[in-house]
Each structure stands twice: as structure tokens, then as C-alpha cells.
Subunit: 471 residues, 2 copies
């Protein structure tokens, strides 16, 4: 996932949630539905569908970089899996984006202390080989404060270590190094860019992730060092000048059309009204995308399947979206918002699971005043799962952001992300890192939330903003 | 380190220790020396020389595969470091061995579930590219039980998971897969060999290590999968036939002469009698060889340096050996034993630190009856460090094995190796994995042990075995 939108959550909350008129009839969830949700919760905790779906995607498809051969295999997998799980409707919606290809990457200290360094190119990096002296900066601000031209013929190295946190807040500053560092370095004259990975582990697995170069700049090869390698480079630099050879073969290669893959459990009485949940189908190429974001696919597919197995369908439809190419710019989420611009008001509540596979610890929605009581009812139904109601927190998951910006009300199921940035965007993002019991807790929470939202009498405040058709 | 000798420790103990006549005068350590050792122990716990030496070797030299360009840099580093630390004598002794070179390696599942696999070639593997169906075996015995010829045109995959243990005993069976698996596979007709790494971590860092091919067999490309990749391959194989493309470019390339680098603190009254401690200077190429075995070099160099800083030299000399090429067959230890075949009896006690940087928890020597009391005296001096006397356990460290086989008495300072095989022979063997406080405990233990052995009145039973000049 990308956290830019999460960081903006309070603003989104103000804009979308509490700004809506509070004159609507109060939304309530019927007692019968709450009783049903209790059974659903217990059944979900004992069910392994979420695990099986996650295992299937990570094993059979493996890494699935947007635009790669595996992207198409992932789309086929998702369609087949929705059908196998008994969804009522399964379809795809096209998502077109520029395709980035990683071919090879390497780096090494040259000279008296010659040794290889473990790196990975940042998504969007161009190809190129640079051998140059390295200039270290403690953080992005220090790089930005360097005199213009001072890095001519040099490699900039931003050595910022992001901290771990349950809510992942350290990633705001950590990922800013990746998104803004290369352009800042180019403006100072640098011919290459290195950063300490935006991560919290201590393994030789560098963290990739998308970067972008500001208009008018000539991109330079840009890569992240694993955290032990950043330590090593910093120690060497403390001894004197260090030159590094950085070689990246990667780049943009035309356009590619992937698909958002969507499955729906059709509502019994208000089938055109939707509770939208999902995750993203693509992953970075280094790992098998287990916590980012096969888990989100597994959690939400399983939650909907468990709802479908109830004695009767909920009033509204439950829609599960497996979004295309989240990693390189929310392409799937943006395409969904554009395709469904006319349906915004029909999306009652929308939530994406894209912060790993840790237990959910907090819940909220961006619903306006008339639906706060219903939000609190859902929170009470989630409480036995160890989830607290956090009425002043949260925001939309990344691919929900564009739809929320058009007026759809978000729901937020906050996962414990303490370990998430140990794995995120690395080769270590593999199935073994997922705790099946924690995954089942996620499935239970999504099942309860989606079911109750689909049974609520009254709405959650979604309404299309005029003149705001698509981001 | 390699554990074949550790596994054989009880036998070595019987052969070398208790078989010597018990008629010699009883060896005792003077009270004055015991008092001095207490001060030495406390000073060592507060000293960071061991850390600084370990940091210096891993940072400035980095990975140092035997025979590589970095091997020569490591030798130069060790000579300079001994001198910088104030050793009385510093010299080198040549060690010649076949040179193995790793150029590249890759593997990928091909076909419907196409995806890369993280592998590393086993040391000694030849070059070659094989694309073939994979046949899985749960362990080495299962491979050995396969019918002759049954693997023709196939890649054998031994999927044995070694367990973690404080004393590393799981490595006996784990490393046997590496040493014996390739030859067993070739005898069954296989054209390639894959194994689950002999390791205990869950990261995408495969474990390398030396293998050998039995005489008369044509070697095939042989590699270890990281543990998550072995899991993945096993899951895919559970679904049906899997083909893998395995490409290794590596091989033997002539002879190389490296050096055992030796520093000595000259004894005040019996300078020709020696307490030998040390570690090995080479490492595998994937990490920076921090726990294997820069730590051993740092611990033993620092221990001797602290002894040299005492008001007066101990009676005997303290010799620190930085052994060449332990990893590919104890070449340094064998060369030392050969060069010092005539001096065996002068080596009072000999110990190598080569099991990481975890705390020492047990102590023993292979000394005969007349030196058991002195061994117990040393153990009592070590007890405040949390070290227990284990009078029926232990054996020589790997590079001490050849000298011990010629009659030198070993000492054993057992390190906690619970996490050792998380790191051993992987890219993750880097400085950040070492706890400076645990390292200082090791330095304190080696300093106390070496000092007391060098001050003992009477010997520890070393005596050259006739007709056993060199292994």
C-alpha cells in the first residue's frame, strides 16, 4: 500500500464525513442482523478460506508486477477464484497504465574497500550506470538544503531510518525520501540516487516502491539499499570518501491494459446498493506479495463468501474488487472511480484491506451524523474481536481514495502494522510471514462490517459531488 | 564454521583427553593469577576492542571469500590490526588451496506458475544450466533410497528442514544434505541438485557452504533455495509436476596461496609454551562474515590485547591465529597443524571461536586427569560470566581439529548458537546481528581462560603423537 492517503485521512474525514447535512433520517442496524453477525463472526474465526485464497494467489501466481506476464495470470486467477467461491456475478473493468520493467540492478563499493551492496531499483527508475563518489545526507531535508550544483557528478545517498509504528506513521517521512529524493538530488546536480530503504527490518532485502521525477528533470538511476547495506555504507563514509558503481537496467515500456476484477454477492432487496470491499491484485516483483496485498484479497474474498453462505443474502450487494496496479499510482482505484462516477451514491460504505495481515485493532467510518449510531453499532459487533471504536480517526484505503474523493463514504478497519514495514515491497513478503489466526480475525471483521452495512436501515451518507466525475 | 568436528567431539575427547596417563604432577593455577583474572574479566566486560575489531574487518574488508581479491586484503588487514593492537610478534604462514569462483546463479519455476526462486550455488558447484522437472525428497535418506537411474534428466530437491538448537546439533543432519546430497543425486541420474538451505531463518537469503562430489562422478549444478523458496517449491509440487530452470556460473579455477596470520604476546618465563586461540579470517561471499567469523577474530584478538595490557606478561605466550580458508575445508587449520607438527607439545591449550557471537554458556578442556583440577579452576573463574563447567562435553573448534588430532589439548568455550543458523553462510551475516554486550562477554571469557592457562603451574597434557605429522 501507499500511505499518502492515510496520512491525509483527517482532512478526508472532515471533507467527506461530517460536512454532510445531518438532517437525514437516522440510520440503524436491525437487531436481527446484529444477531446474525455474531454467528457470522464466530464462523469466520473458525474458517480458513482467507488463508487458502492467500496461499493460492501467492503460490500459483507468485510475484505479479503490474504489466508483467504474471499480471495477466493474476487477472485470470481472480476471475476463476471468484467463480470457485460462488460469487453471483464476476466481471472485469479495464485499467490502462504505463508499464515499467525491471531487468537488472547492482551496486558495489569500488576501491580499497571494494564490496557489493544489496540494492533494488526504485519503480520508475531509468536505466544507467554511474560510478561516482557518494555524498550522504541524514534525511530529505538535508538533501534539499544542499547548494545547487553541489552534487555534480556525485551519487546522493539519503540515509534516513524510518521508525516502526502500529499505524505505520513512520512511512510518511520514509516514503517521502523515495518519492521526492530523486528529483531533489537531480536538482542539485547528482547523477545517481541511493536511499536507505523505507523499512524497519534488518535483513539484506532492499525495499522497492514507485518514485516519480518532476517535470523537466532528466531522471537518473535511483535505488534503495537494504538497511544493513545502508549501515555499511554509512560506516565506510565515516572513514573517508567512498565511490560506488550503481548499475540499473530498467525503464518505462509503453502502455499496458490490465483489469480490475470484481465479484459480487447480489443483495436480496436493494441489490443496486453496494458495500464495497477489496484489496489490490498486483504486487511488487521482489516477493510474492503476501502481506501486500494477497492478504487483502484473501480477507475480502473470504468475508464475502462467508456472507453468501448465510441462510439469506443481506439487503444490499457485497462487492469485492481486486484492484489492478495499486503500487504504481492507484491505477485500479482511479479507474474504478472513473467507471463508477455515476454510482457513487450507491456505494454505501467502501473499505480496502491493504496494510498487511496483522490483527485489526480499530474501526471507524467517514459517515455523517445521521449514520454515527449505525457506525457505533458495527463497532460494538466488532468489539469481541479486540477492535475498538475510534470515532475521530481513519480514512479510506488507497484504492478507495479516488471514490471517496467523489463522495463515497469510507470505512476504516485499522490493521496492526508494527511489522508491516519489515516486509513491505521486499523479497521477504512471502506467505510464511502471515499468521493464519490473525488473518481469520481480519476475515471475521470484514464479514461482520460488510454484512451489517448491507443490512442497515438507512444510508451512510455517500453522495456524488457535482463536477467531480473522476480524479 | 563447519560442525563435523563438533559432532565428533565426544570421540575426540576420549581419544585425546582421558586416554593420556594420569601419573603426571597435578597442574594448578596460582592464587595470584586467579585474582588477576578477576580484574581482567571485569575490564574485558567494559572494553569495546572486540567490537571495534569486528566492525573494522566486516566494514573495511567486507565479504572475503577464500582466494578472492578480498582474501589478500583480509590478510593485510589482519597483519596491520595485530600490529596496531600491540602484539609482540606478527607473522604469516602460507596456506595453499584450490580456488572456487562464484560468477552468477539464478533459478526460476517455468510454465504455468512461472516465478523466480532465490538460490545460491553451493561452494564447489560447477557451471551449468539445467531445465528439468523437480523431484522432491523429504530428506537425504529418501534421496539415497531412490532407485538408481530414477532421476535421469531430473533435478533432485531435498526438502529437509534443520531445527534450531543452542548447541547447533541440528546442523549435523542439515549440512549432510549439502555435503552428501549432490553425489547421491548424481548416482540416481540427476542433472541438477537443489536443497532447502541448511538454516533456521525465514528470509529470502539462501545459505551457501561447501560441497564435494565423490570421485568418479560428473558434478552437476548444485544450489540451496532460501527457506521461503523451499516452502514455495514444496507447495507448487503438492499441486502437480513442476519444472525449474537452474543456471549456475561458478567453478574451480587453479590454486591460490593465502596466509594464516598470527600474532603473539610473548610469555615472560616460558615463552615457547603457547596458549593458542583464534578464529578464521575468510568468510563466505554473500554476507560480510560477521558472526562467521569476524566475531571470532575480534573476540580472540581483543582477549590477547587485554592480557598484554596487564602489569606483566603471563608465563606462557598467547598466540592468536587468524586462519585462512576454513570454509572450504579447514585449509588454514590443516596448514597450521602441518607447519607446527614438531611443536604440538608446546601448545598447552588451543581453542577457536567459530560459532557466532552469542554468549558463552559452557566450558571444558580435553585435558587429562592431572589437569582436571586446573580446568575446574578456570571454569570457576568463568562462572561469574554465566558459564558452567561441562566436564564431559566439548571438542576442538574446526581449525583446532587437525592440531588436536596430532595430540594438542583442546579447550571448548561453547557459544549459544540458537540464532547462529539464521545467519550462517547467508547475505544476512552482517555486523548489525551482533550484540556488543554478548561479544564483550566472549572477550572476557577468552581473556580469563587464556590468561589462566598461560599462568598454570604444570601442563595440560598435549604431546605429539608419533607418526602423525600432519593430516
Amino acid at each position: 500500500m501507499r500511505l499518502a492517503l492515510l496520512a491525509a485521512a483527517p482532512i478526508v474525514s472532515i471533507l467527506l464525513g461530517f460536512a454532510t447535512p445531518a438532517t437525514a433520517a437516522e440510520t440503524r442496524i436491525p437487531q436481527r442482523a446484529l444477531a446474525q453477525a455474531e454467528q457470522l463472526r464466530e464462523r469466520a474465526l473458525a474458517d480458513d478460506t482467507g488463508w487458502k485464497v492467500t496461499e493460492s494467489l501467492t503460490t500459483e501466481v507468485g510475484p505479479r508486477l503490474a504489466g508483467s506476464e504474471a499480471d495477466a495470470r493474476a487477472v485470470a486467477w481472480a476471475k476463476a477464484k471468484f467463480q470457485e467461491l460462488g460469487f453471483d456475478r464476476v466481471w472485469t473493468e479495464p485499467v490502462t497504465f504505463p508499464k515499467w520493467v525491471r531487468r537488472s540492478e547492482s551496486a558495489a563499493v569500488v576501491g580499497a574497500h571494494a564490496q557489493p551492496l544489496q540494492i533494488t531499483a526504485l519503480g520508475g527508475s531509468p536505466a544507467g550506470t554511474v560510478e561516482a563518489q557518494v555524498v550522504r545526507f541524514a534525511d530529505l531535508a538535508a538533501l534539499e538544503a544542499a547548494p545547487d550544483g553541489s552534487l555534480a557528478g556525485k551519487i546522493a545517498f539519503v540515509d534516513y531510518q524510518m521508525p516502526a509504528a502500529r499505524d505505520g506513521n513512520g512511512y510518511g517521512k520514509g516514503s517521502a525520501v523515495r518519492s521526492k529524493g530523486p528529483s531533489a538530488a537531480i536538482r542539485k546536480g547528482a547523477s545517481g540516487f541511493l536511499m536507505r530503504s523505507a523499512g524497519t527490518d534488518n535483513h539484506r532485502v532492499p525495499h522497492t516502491g514507485i518514485t516519480r521525477y518532476d517535470e523537466g528533470l532528466t531522471p537518473v538511476p535511483s535505488a534503495a539499499l537494504s538497511i544493513p547495506d545502508a549501515d555499511q555504507l554509512a560506516r565506510l563514509l565515516a572513514r573517508g570518501p567512498v565511490s560506488v558503481r550503481l548499475a540499473v537496467d530498467a525503464g518505462w515500456d509503453g502502455q499496458y491494459t490490465s483489469q480490475n476484477v470484481i465479484g459480487e454477492i447480489t443483495g436480496r432487496s436493494r441489490p443496486k446498493e453496494i458495500v464495497l470491499i477489496g484489496g489490490h491484485l498486483d504486487s511488487w516483483d521482489l516477493g510474492t506479495g503476501a502481506v501486500d496485498d494477497a492478504a487483502g484479497i484473501g480477507i475480502t474474498m473470504a468475508a464475502a463468501k462467508l456472507i453468501a453462505q448465510l441462510p439469506r443474502r443481506p439487503a444490499r450487494s457485497i462487492r469485492v474488487a481486486a484492484f489492478a496496479n495499486e503500487e504504481q499510482g492507484l491505477h485500479g482505484g482511479k479507474a474504478y472511480a472513473k467507471a463508477h462516477a455515476a454510482d457513487v451514491a450507491r456505494h454505501q460504505l467502501s473499505a480496502e484491506s491493504d496494510f498487511g495481515a496483522g490483527r485489526i485493532y480499530a474501526f471507524n467510518t467517514g459517515a455523517p451524523e445521521h449514520a454515527r449510531a449505525a457506525t457505533a453499532q458495527i463497532a460494538r459487533a466488532l468489539a469481541p474481536l479486540g477492535i475498538e471504536y475510534a470515532p475521530d480517526k481513519g480514512g479510506p484505503g488507497p484504492d478507495i481514495g479516488p471514490l471517496a474523493a467523489q463522495g463515497a463514504t469510507w470505512a476504516w478497519l485499522a490493521q496492526d502494522g508494527t511489522d508491516y514495514f519489515d516486509l513491505h515491497h521486499t523479497a521477504d513478503d512471502t506467505l510464511d510471514k502471515i499468521d493464519p489466526a490473525a488473518l481469520a480475525q481480519n476475515v471475521a471483521a470484514y464479514a461482520v462490517f460488510a454484512y451489517l452495512a448491507a443490512e442497515a436501515d438507512g444510508d451512510f451518507g455517500s453522495s456524488a459531488k457535482s463536477g467531480d466525475a473522476a480524479p
